[in-house]
Amino acid sequence: MIDFSKDFPLLQTTDEMGRRLAYLDNAATTQKPFAVLDAEADYYKNKNANPHRGAYDLSMKATQVLESVREKTKRWLHVPEDGEVIFTKNATESLNLVAYSYAMNAVSAGDEIVLAVSEHHSNLVPWQNVAKAKGAVLTYLYLNEEGRVTKEEAQQKITTKTKLVAIAQVSNVTGYVNPVEDIIEMAHKVQAVVVVDGTQGAPHLFVDLGKLEADFYAFSGHKMLAPMGIGVLYGKKKLLEQMPPFLYGGDMIEYVEEQTTTFAPVPQKFEAGTQNMGSIAGFGAAIDYIEKIGMNQIRSIEDELTAYLIEKLKGVPHLTIVGSDSLENRIGVVPFVIEGVHPHDVVTIVNKDLIAIRSGNHCAQPLHNFLKVPATCRASVYLYNSKDEIDRLAESLKGVRRWLGYGA
């Protein structure tokens, strides 16, 4: 396996004992390569002016950065002719944009909004809010014994009453890839609109939005090597054009009179105020970095690491992988618990060995209630991780119970 960690300055730092951090919390955020950090700095050193405002060269340069990264994003995601890409702060803002500008106008009393019980709070709470405001019904897709969303369950729940379906491409807790293609097909048969949360999908899977046919697709840049503060919302133009703006203000207008305003066309209509240009430049560099390695190679690295991670976790006494240890249709996100030790204690204890994993309910409380575990530990890999780091995690986990006073 090629060692990509050398491209990541944070992963190169060592502590006073000469140890490197084993960063295994990539589902929360990823580290940033030099190329991304340099692109962000380069923007502020050499290209910084307010885009779309000035007629002078520097402002044109800034505009050029914004629009070229938009084009790059569209190319990377295979955005079809009838789709558009809007820059937001993160996936949460993207999903709220859809909730407020689309759903609040399209959903009425008695309509059903279908979503999986495994959704991240950011793809759950906005719909709960819409349902409450409009008198609509939230209908949950429950999971099978492995913890997966199934086609059969979707078939049962998506009906002619369904107005909107919100579904993650990949669960941030279980790492399972959801059958989104099937769900989109079912939803479109009943004229429902589908919002796909691609936050755990875009960084790890080949995405072709032309083929996927999602009506909206949202994700965050920071989980795919880009800086924090940049997110993407893809939407079909015919929906975006009929939606009212989400935020009102500068840069999203055409003519402003004292009493009325006409709005700029899509995408500017949804990009009020000055954008996070440094992060946009970094996001463009992140796409370049990923494309240079290639999604196929990223997949094969991650698949190898995931298989190794699961094998190693299974060798830790008293450890149970939550859901299943199947490698089918999953990414490298693995939740687990250790008998008798709360996940938060597990994280504190492995932290002493300079290993970063996550504990808690990972912004998915309804899922944890469904699985009947109050919290889980979660290890998640990305292209720069190594088997050595996974070995360190497994070794450290073997010692966890001793700290809590158990024999072994």
Partner: protein, 143 residues
């Protein structure tokens, strides 16, 4: 702070304690406390008669730190007045925030002084104070 200062025998013993781990029959004070990010979840029940805390019940689940802190708190406040309990909570939170450092003032906290250095482990502060904040909220709500 080293791990062996955190997971001491005393804290481990209290984290496993079942003394107060029961629902009360007719509690007149009830409050839920959560740390949403880590999943600690405490349900505190109190039976108060004439300003005196007669009985304390603790439900819910959480990490060793949150459970031990809650068990120590329950032991401390049972049989004390509401006013004393409020003062204990203030002192405990002051100890964590390092605004109360006087050893004599901290003596009233008895075993709960075990968390005196938890502020050196910022990720675990929330766990240690959860039950105490829940107690404050429970007692304020009834006023």
């Amino acid at each position: 702070m080293e791990l062996d200062e955190l997971y001491t025998d005393l804290i481990l013993e209290y984290s496993q304690s079942n003394t107060h781990r029961k629902p009360l029959i007719r509690p007149n004070y009830k409050m839920r406390g959560v740390n949403p990010s880590c999943g600690d979840n405490i349900e505190l029940e109190l039976n108060v008669e004439n300003g005196m805390i007669k009985e304390v019940g603790l439900l819910g689940n959480g990490c060793a730190i949150s459970q031990a802190s809650a068990a120590m708190m329950a032991e401390l406040i049972e049989g004390k007045t509401v006013e004393e309990a409020k003062q204990f909570a203030k002192t405990f939170i002051g100890m964590i925030q390092k605004t109360v450092t006087d050893e004599e003032a901290l003596e009233v906290l008895e075993e709960a002084r075990a968390f005196q250095n938890i502020s050196n482990m910022p990720a675990r502060v929330k766990c240690a104070v959860l039950s105490w904040h829940t107690l404050e909220e429970a007692l304020e709500k009834e006023e």
